[in-house]
């Protein structure tokens, strides 16, 4: 929206040309830079005043890309580096008095969280150098239109695979995407080196989150599965994930022809009734450790340090974020009632 509003000083840096497509409607210039290759990144960041690191990729690349982005930002003479970390570096939030800048848990079971933590520790050391301001933001679950934290639960609700752990009273630490962008703007305008959590103002439980999505999509909450919150039991999905993270698996996958991979994927999808239209709503719940952990979070993410330093940047509410998210879900066609409505309007 910044570009649409006429700002010419916001420049997307993308790893490859295919990433230009999703913003091709803006007709804005972009730069190519691969965060895994320091020299390409230095060219891409040349002349930048502020660098916002939003790189994604394999968890094993997180530390290296963070080091490269930092080095390129320094080389470019940038005054500030904003690094998007994640609240997952804490693991589960189990105490209400957790300091905002508590160090990450490097013994976390999730490779993504461990690597994000290691990247934070690298930047913690660089903060002492004072070569540029380094602001590490740790958002909760970034939600809103386009978010996998909306699409995943909504898909599960519509297709009958949604579940709540226990009574759903776990805390869902959400961060609405537009408010995150506002927070980044505030940081860039007046950077203060440090670690800051960012999250929505309202405390939302998973029951509230799923209930609101279900109501918006016309799904009966009675159809949502209930899973015991006593302890996590690894299911097939997580066991397969463990196989997928093996080096041997990746080696084999890289050597399979695209045609073969496509045929295998189709066969697997057929076996599980995969992407058939959402008409039955009778799927079983596939519990993953990630969601089990998230749903058993007991406390809210502390954000007082961010507010004290940068002011209160959140403008939205849970209700407004939900309305926008539901509008997006209808736009992408997830709400079957939207199709019926469209047919009715065509008929009339």
């Amino acid at each position: 929206m910044a570009i649409l509003a006429g700002r010419a000083d916001v420049v997307p840096v993308v790893r490859s040309y295919k990433s230009v497509a999703r913003n091709a409607n803006l007709g804005a210039p972009h730069r190519l830079g691969d965060a895994m290759r320091a020299e390409s990144l230095e060219r891409a960041l040349d002349g930048c005043d502020a660098v916002v690191n939003l790189t994604t990729g394999d968890p094993s690349e997180i530390v290296r890309t963070t080091k490269n982005v930092y080095a390129a930002a320094v080389a470019a003479g940038a005054r500030v580096l904003v690094h998007l970390s994640s609240a997952t570096v804490y693991g589960q939030i189990e105490r209400p008095d957790l300091p905002d800048d508590a160090p990450p848990r490097l013994d976390h079971w999730m490779p993504y969280a461990r690597q994000k933590g290691l990247a934070e520790n690298f930047l913690r050391e660089r903060m002492a150098d004072g070569r540029l301001a380094i602001v590490v933001l740790r958002p909760g679950l970034v939600w809103g239109p386009g978010s996998p934290w909306v699409l995943g639960p909504a898909n599960d609700l519509v297709r009958g695979g949604a579940y709540l752990v226990g009574d759903g009273s776990g805390i869902c630490n959400l961060m609405y995407v537009d408010d995150l962008v506002r927070s980044i703007h505030a940081v860039v305008a007046r950077p203060v080196t440090g670690f800051y959590n960012v999250a929505d103002d309202e405390t939302t439980t998973w029951r509230t989150f799923y209930g609101a999505l279900a109501a918006g999509l016309g799904v009966n909450m009675n159809a949502v599965h209930r899973v015991s919150g006593d302890r996590y039991r690894a299911g097939l999905h997580d066991r397969l994930d463990a196989v997928r993270s093996l080096r041997a698996y990746r080696w084999l996958k890289d050597r399979l022809a695209l045609e073969t991979r496509t045929a295998l994927k189709l066969r697997l999808a057929e076996l599980r009734g995969g992407d058939e239209p959402a008409m039955s709503g009778t799927r079983s719940a596939v519990v993953t450790r990630t969601f089990w952990d998230l749903q058993t979070t007991r406390c809210s993410l502390p954000t007082s340090l961010f507010r004290a330093t940068f002011g209160h940047q959140n403008r939205g509410s849970f209700a407004s974020g939900l309305a926008a998210s539901l509008a997006w879900l209808r736009f992408i066609g997830l709400d079957e009632r939207a199709f019926a409505h469209e047919l009715d309007s065509q008929a009339s």
């Binding site: 929206m1 490859s16 295919k18 091709a24 007709g27 239209p277 992408i332």
Partner: protein
């Protein structure tokens, strides 16, 4: 001189490259979209006719067994009349490309409508007849090309809405509803359709429609099961057209028809309503829409 030249350059160069191939005495299999404009498409057709060579267009979905099955169901009246449809196709773009030519109007002619839209419009034309555009809206601003668009179409056998996206994970598929039943199919499932008569359960029809797999007159035939099988079958069929004079799956006339629909869309684009934006942001998208800037420039 090669028997068959595959033209897979940026769409804005197709006419020039195809004409050069015809002039050299080759036949042409041209990637979709056949051309970035109706004038280019007509130029290509003229060059093909003048040279007496084959012009096949890479509208590969003509090879989908699901298309053949759906058309057979429609022809048999299984869905009844008063046919209405919704076609959605969208994902966050991930096709590996070596330049940004596909994302600039000068080289590509447009965005997602040129890209997925070529397939969608040709598929619908194969099912329902030549489309006429009732309304078109997209999200292109300034010098950009559309990453999302919505088209209202009227065709001889049906009417409906097409929604395409390069940036959103649309629930992809074609859904047709008639007075007696309904049908769904997905581009990722090239060999099956699901359908039901009103009040009955859904059933899956797995196709056995087959195409030649080699150039021998009495060679093997096989049912394509994946997109790649269809691409192979399309190439085989283009070569058989050159060798044996058999029909090509998608002709230059089919490619021209798609170009005409796309050009009709671009002639009167409205700003696409992005429903999750705030009213202020909506106003900005209206103000910056390429139709506004084009009108101002005119």
């Amino acid at each position: 001189m090669p028997d068959l030249v595959i033209v897979a350059s940026p769409p804005g160069r197709h006419a020039e490259h195809a004409a050069a191939a015809f002039a050299a005495g080759s036949n042409v299999l041209c990637e979709k979209p056949m051309a970035a404009s109706v004038a280019d498409a007509e130029h290509m057709l003229g060059a093909a006719r003048h040279s007496g060579r084959v012009l096949a267009v890479g509208l590969v979905r003509r090879m989908f067994p699901s298309l053949v099955e759906a058309r057979a169901l429609l022809d048999a009246g299984a869905l009844g009349d008063d046919l209405r449809f919704s076609y959605r196709e969208g994902l966050v773009y991930s096709w590996p490309v070596s330049t940004d030519a596909a994302f600039r109007r000068a080289t590509a002619g447009g965005g997602v409508l040129m890209d997925f839209g070529s397939h969608a419009l040709d598929f619908l034309a194969a099912l329902f007849g030549t489309p006429a555009v009732h309304a078109y809206a997209d999200d292109a601003y300034g010098d950009g090309v559309e990453t999302n668009c919505r088209i209202e179409l009227a065709l001889p056998r049906a009417s409906g809405v097409v929604q395409l996206s390069w940036s959103q994970p649309l629930v992809t598929g074609l859904h047709i509803v008639g007075s007696k039943g309904e049908l769904t199919l997905q581009p990722s499932r090239v060999d099956s359709v699901r359908w039901r008569r009103s009040g009955e359960s859904w059933r899956t029809l797995k196709s056995t429609v087959a195409w030649p797999t080699d150039l021998r007159r009495a060679g093997e035939w096989r049912t394509p099961r994946t997109y790649y099988d269809c691409i192979h079958a399309q190439l085989v069929q283009a070569l058989r057209a050159v060798l044996w004079g058999e029909p090509v799956p998608a002709t230059g006339e089919n490619g021209l028809a798609v170009a005409q629909v796309i050009e009709a869309c671009y002639r009167h684009p409205d700003p696409l309503r992005i429903p999750w934006l705030t009213p202020e942001e909506q106003a900005q998208t209206q103000h910056r829409h390429w139709s506004v800037e084009r009108s101002a420039a005119a």
